[in-house]
Symmetry: C2
Subunit: 234 residues, 2 copies
């Protein structure tokens, strides 16, 4: 039961995690106060605080002023994964990355695009369609819409060499958005560009990006070629 000597906050974290794992403190239990733990571990309260905060960030503990630190009942599984930058994703597998712009059109938004981007009918939207390939085989189809009122510079950008994906991360600071993953049956048009069979199942990632004011910068639909898998470590 005796813990190895505690030197840093990482040690405290390890020891607390061990006790949670061993159910020494069970879900719903109240932990001793920071001061008590500091006394037990023979360190400053700040050190205990750092450790408990880290664990709380992981979602295993819940802390409240005056209410103390409690073991979360239903520890939500949280996973943090990095959203793939297409070029890197391909090059990491030692494959040759290819890119080609299929379409580029500045237009008034269609109704579907208006809904997706939450813009007015008289907005000016840049619509792009591009294909990313790995070792010459179609990898993912990028269908993107950019609100030129929010990102005027995109109107003059040349997307024939650099993908909208890369141009945007380089030029537009963003803040938030949503990512929606789903499975779809490929459309005829998309199947042609992806060189896959009609009726195939494809993995689709829709991403909406907003700036700090909450305005929609861009919406992108990534239609992956059949067989694509998104792998996330837990």
């Amino acid at each position: 039961m005796k813990a190895a000597s505690i030197n840093g906050w990482q040690d405290v974290q390890t020891e607390v995690l061990r006790r949670l794992h061993d159910r020494f403190w069970k879900p719903g239990d109240l932990l001793p106060s920071e001061a008590d733990l500091a006394a037990e571990f023979g360190c400053a309260r700040t050190t205990v605080n750092r450790a408990l905060q880290a664990i709380a960030e992981e979602g295993l503990l819940e802390r409240r002023r005056r209410g103390g630190t409690r073991v979360v009942i239903n520890p939500q599984q949280r996973a943090t994964f990095s959203i793939p930058v297409i070029r890197q994703e391909i090059e990491q597998r030692q494959q040759h990355y290819g890119y080609s712009l299929l379409k580029r059109r500045q237009q008034r938004p269609s109704r579907a695009v208006r809904e997706r981007m939450q813009v007015e009918a008289d907005a000016s939207v840049l619509a792009l369609r591009a294909l990313h390939s790995a070792d010459g085989r179609p990898y993912v189809l990028e269908k993107r819409w950019i609100d030129l009122a929010v990102v005027p510079a995109a109107g003059k950008a040349d997307f024939s060499e650099q993908s909208p994906n890369e141009w945007l991360v380089a030029h537009v600071p963003f803040s938030g958005g949503e990512l929606v993953l789903s499975a779809r049956t490929v459309t005829e048009e998309d199947a042609a560009d992806l060189a896959c069979e009609a009726g195939a199942s494809v993995f689709v990632a829709e991403r909406r990006t907003r700036n700090t004011q909450g305005a929609t910068i861009t919406v992108v639909h990534l239609v992956y070629a059949p067989g694509y898998q998104m792998v996330i470590d837990l």
Copy 2:
């Protein structure tokens, strides 16, 4: 350029984020040392340290002893999302959650299962098949395999009322694993249970869960009914 008065580390974080956002410090740039920033902001170095560490955890800064703090060149988009617990996912939408066990069999693993679970041919595996429904409509099909050598208690558990999903989170402390998301064309067998059309595209989540020793506890395939979307906030 003058910042509003700095009181806490959150203020420091906000101000630094503002400067990154405004490209006052550009990707690749070296930031002033913590001591300098502390002097500028009129606070203790500890406070600056806390703020910069938080930003570094977000992936926007890279910090090295002696090397200083640098603005990350290609800020990886990182998203952290909580893995849905099926019952909660459904009940959060004010829908009625239903569960039924379709199959339960203790068996030697087939070759496919052996590969998935990384077990020997003489292992004892509990194979389960269950359906989760929302408002009476099939929602997701759970196909699960549990290694009884790792979780012997599962052999006696009754999964006719409680889903394996919930039983496992309640009884087995786990540590890591992988999550693989993909789009598939539904199999005939699965289509029957999900009451969907043959050939439909379905969203599939495969999850492998390991214990602290690295042994595979369980593998689950979640086959969602057509139309399912996984939404992640960025």
